[in-house]
């Protein structure tokens, strides 16, 4: 038997000056199931709350409705109050007669009062259908996974580890370090990138709380916040890590040759290799695609084997296989980084065929002292020092027709940095930069840009380049100086294209594996653009660095720290409380069609096989089941369900229809 108490709040004059609160209370007194109805000056005050608690006892109320402000304001206050009165906190409803009534209908007292009565009746009708609900609990695995071993992943892992939690870094290449390891200098301070990165790499590898899992791929993520089961594929290195001392003899003797990806294919590397000298772990892997032995095995032969012969530790193991294992984590940080746009889509820039038209990352390797040219800036074609260099910004960025529509944020600064490096290395070389806008909204950035022009004498030309073509040994760059309003041609020795930042090519697949959103371009989607920049819509999974969108190193490090704080906050709890307003599926009604599985954005619904007795036989059939820990309570499944088997706790079909009916009955 429902026994509802209604409490109408004046909120001082906020409600009382427009809505006749006494009349509302009086009207409700005669409404079905209401056994007690009063009005009071301030319901949320201590005396107000005591009024409710006493009434619950006195009138043996089992349900409470408060007509006052927005539930977004005080729902939790009154739920706590009701709980103190000995009721289940979910046997409570609020009617919003302030924000939705008195404040927006000033001067229309009669209509506002009528509306307040309607809203109160709706709340009563709903509360009569409310059920007692209990918050759930789930345990927390106090260990985090960071996917990606670039600066974002390293920083997030260090921050988590320094807070005392175990953390694993999963990296798919043979070494941590990421793109930052390829970069020569960093703007705007011109710090040597390796000099600031490698200490962090060493710290991560030697930290007692950090475990590196390199040369490994993420295969599957199951579970939910606090309890993720992650399947990892550790790729065969063909080198026994426990035996290898990292002496490097194998690499010097290997006759195999492959393009050196780390050096942007500007030189070759052996088939057994570490990506770069400071690699961590500093133990090589065999690239089976270019290894003579593995290649010959495909043809049924078995040649070479030099590395095994020269290895003093006997660490080479040609028979090693991929290993697949499952690890448990409480939280995951995605730090998978970015990739560089491929400018070969531009026919007008030569489809990537001109050797002296290079990308920004190419240049970083060219100018790096440990790069293929030992830091001498020379043309890839003839190894001569360029006398005129043209840089082109926004290549692939801000180009919805042929590239990406967004601004890549970093190119303005890295182009300016590269221009100053050219001027430092080759003072006789002229540098022109074609730009559309110069975007320098970082600390010290605009000052750096101005120094580039004023002190380094780099010439900026506002306009997009229309064509680059080979003219003998040189290149002709055709642009417009749009400030002069005149087409210009520059005879250049080398052109550097500031290629856009784009998501990793398998970003979408990665997002699907871990169950997070991604945008049209493939960047992972944060929970809220302003207020949830490192969270995702999947509880327990956080974002760090450029996997979420183009970002420079300072922003990446800041975001990694933010993600780490969120992870630590989560891991500091022993148990997680779960909202009981989740979906439930009645197996008796469920036809097992599986439509709800497809619409659930949280992968919270799965089909399971149940056995039941029917006409004396045991039959098994499929029904959908909700994992309450994953369900966030949106209700998409309830509307999709054709047999009305799915229902959302606290917003059930019966509850909402009762509200609709209560409103409509007052029309008469």
């Amino acid at each position: 038997m429902e026994r509802v108490g209604v409490f109408v709040c004046h909120c001082g004059s906020n409600i009382g000056s427009v809505v006749d609160c006494a009349k509302v209370a009086e009207e409700l007194r005669n409404y079905p199931n209401v056994v007690h109805s009063v009005d009071y000056k301030y319901m949320c005050s201590e005396p107000g709350q005591n009024l409710i608690k006493e009434a619950v006892k006195e009138h043996n109320l089992n349900r409470v409705v408060v007509c006052s402000c927005s539930p977004r304001m005080h729902e939790n206050t009154f739920r706590a109050c009701v709980a103190q009165a000995g009721l289940n906190p979910y046997m409570f409803e609020m009617a919003n007669i302030r924000e939705h009534c008195s404040w927006v209908h000033a001067g229309h007292n009669e209509e506002a009062t009528a509306k307040a009565i309607d809203l109160a009746k709706m709340a009563v009708a709903k509360v009569c259908k409310n059920k007692e609900l209990k918050k759930g609990h789930s345990p927390v695995t106090k260990r985090a996974l960071v996917v990606g071993g670039g600066i974002a992943g390293i920083q997030a892992a260090l921050d988590i580890a320094n807070n005392g939690y175990q953390v694993d870094i999963l990296e798919r290449t043979p070494s941590i370090g990421g793109k930052m390891a390829q970069i020569d200098k960093t703007f705007p301070t011109i710090d040597c990138s390796a000099c600031i990165l490698t200490p962090r790499m060493v710290e991560a590898s030697s930290h007692p709380n950090i475990k590196l899992i390199t040369f490994a791929e993420l295969e599957k993520v199951e579970g939910y916040v606090g309890n993720f089961d992650v399947t990892i594929r550790s790729k065969a290195r063909s080198v026994d890590m426990s035996k290898c001392t990292g002496c490097g003899t194998c690499m010097t003797k290997c006759p195999g040759k492959a393009d050196d990806e780390f050096n942007m294919n500007l030189q070759k590397r052996p088939a057994i290799y570490t990506p770069f000298p400071q690699a961590i772990p500093n133990k090589p892997v065999i690239d089976r695609e270019s290894c003579l032995k593995f290649k010959s095995r495909k043809d049924g032969k078995d040649v070479c084997g030099i590395c095994a012969k020269v290895c003093p530790a006997g660490a080479i193991d040609y028979e090693q296989e991929d290993e697949i294992f499952v690890e448990h984590y409480g939280a995951i940080v995605m730090a998978t980084g970015y990739d560089q746009f491929d400018h070969s889509v531009y026919g007008e820039y030569g489809y990537g065929k001109y050797p002296d038209v290079i990308s920004g990352l190419h240049f970083e390797r060219l100018v790096n002292a440990s790069g293929p040219t030992m830091g001498h800036i020379v043309r890839p074609s003839d190894h001569k020092e360029p006398k005129t260099v043209v840089m082109v910004k926004c290549v692939g960025s801000r180009d919805p027709e042929h590239g990406k529509s967004y601004c890549s944020r970093t190119c303005c600064m890295y182009s300016a940095k590269q221009a100053t490096l050219i001027r430092d290395h080759c003072p006789d070389t002229k540098v022109y930069i074609f730009y559309m806008d110069v975007r320098t909204p970082g600390k010290g950035y605009d000052e750096f840009y101005n120094r580039t022009r004023e002190e380094y004498g780099v010439e900026y030309i506002r306009g997009r380049v229309s064509k680059i073509y080979q003219d003998g040994e040189q290149l002709i760059v055709k642009g417009e100086d749009s400030l002069l309003g005149r087409p210009v041609e520059i005879l250049a020795d080398m052109v550097i294209l500031a290629d856009a930042m784009i998501p990793q090519n398998d970003a979408a697949k990665m997002a699907q594996i871990v169950g997070i959103g991604y945008d049209n371009d493939g960047w992972f989607t944060e929970a809220h653009a302003k207020l949830g920049p490192v969270e995702t819509h999947t509880a327990g999974i956080f974002l760090a660095g450029a996997c979420q969108g183009p970002k420079d190193i300072p922003d990446t490090v800041a975001q990694a720290g933010a993600a780490a704080v969120k992870v630590c906050g989560l891991l500091s709890k022993d148990q997680l409380e779960t909202d009981p307003c989740t979906s439930e599926i009645d197996p008796a009604l469920c036809a097992g069609c599986g439509h709800c599985v497809g619409v659930c954005p949280y992968k919270a619904i799965s089909l399971e096989t149940i056995e039941e007795r029917k006409a004396g036989k045991t039959i098994s059939r499929q029904v959908a089941k909700v994992n309450a820990s994953l369900c966030q309570g949106c209700g998409a499944c309830t509307v999709t369900c054709r047999s009305s088997a799915a229902n959302l706790n606290h917003f059930t079909n019966a509850q909402i229809l009762a509200e609709v009916d209560a409103l409509c009955q007052t029309i008469l």
Binding site: E480, S482, G485
Partner: protein
């Protein structure tokens, strides 16, 4: 005069309706002018013409030489990062300018007129006629006539113009097309 007084929304709308190109998409990067083979001979580059169109200074755009000098090579439209069909805007401006009697490039206009007149009456181009009529019209009496003799010698010029069997049909196409253009102008 203030900018507001110079801006003409009606002409901006007409340009959009007839070209079906949204000039507001242009972000003035200058790639069109940079690649335009004629830009260096223009009074305003294609980017500047687009700017005029964008700002509602269509009247001014119609008076440029640029819209007449455009060779319709479509390099600008092909390379535009925003997918703006610049060449189509130039062509539409040229047609609109001609209707209003803004002829910034008299010789090009005369060439077009003579070309159309010949096609209208003969159904096909008659190149000696085109050259001679153009020279008479532009006052450059002997331009290109030096090519005439070798052309004849090489049997490359036909001195007797082609007579199509159905010249009435061609004339009717000209008349109906003109009526269709006119109707579109009226429909605005």
């Amino acid at each position: 005069m203030t900018l507001q007084e110079m801006q003409n929304q009606e002409l901006r709308d007409e340009l959009f309706l007839r070209s079906q190109v949204d000039v507001t998409k242009c972000y003035q990067c200058g790639k069109c002018t940079a690649g335009c083979p004629v830009a260096e001979h223009m009074d305003y580059g294609p980017r500047q013409v687009m700017r005029m169109a964008q700002m509602g200074l269509v009247e001014e755009a119609m008076k440029t030489k640029a819209i007449w000098l455009c060779a319709t090579c479509e390099t600008c439209s092909t390379r535009c990062p925003k997918g703006v069909e610049v060449a189509k805007v130039m062509e539409t401006l040229r047609i609109m300018a001609k209707e209003r009697g803004y002829i910034a490039e008299k010789n090009i206009d005369k060439f077009n007129n003579i070309y159309n007149t010949i096609v209208k009456s003969l159904g096909r181009m008659y190149e000696p006629g085109l050259i001679v009529s153009r020279n008479v019209a532009t006052g450059h009496l002997f331009q290109d006539t030096s090519y005439g003799i070798p052309y004849l010698a090489k049997q490359k010029l036909n001195l007797v113009p082609h007579k199509p069997k159905n010249s009435e049909e061609i004339k009717s196409i000209f008349a109906k097309a003109a009526a269709m253009d006119e109707a579109e102008r009226g429909n605005r």
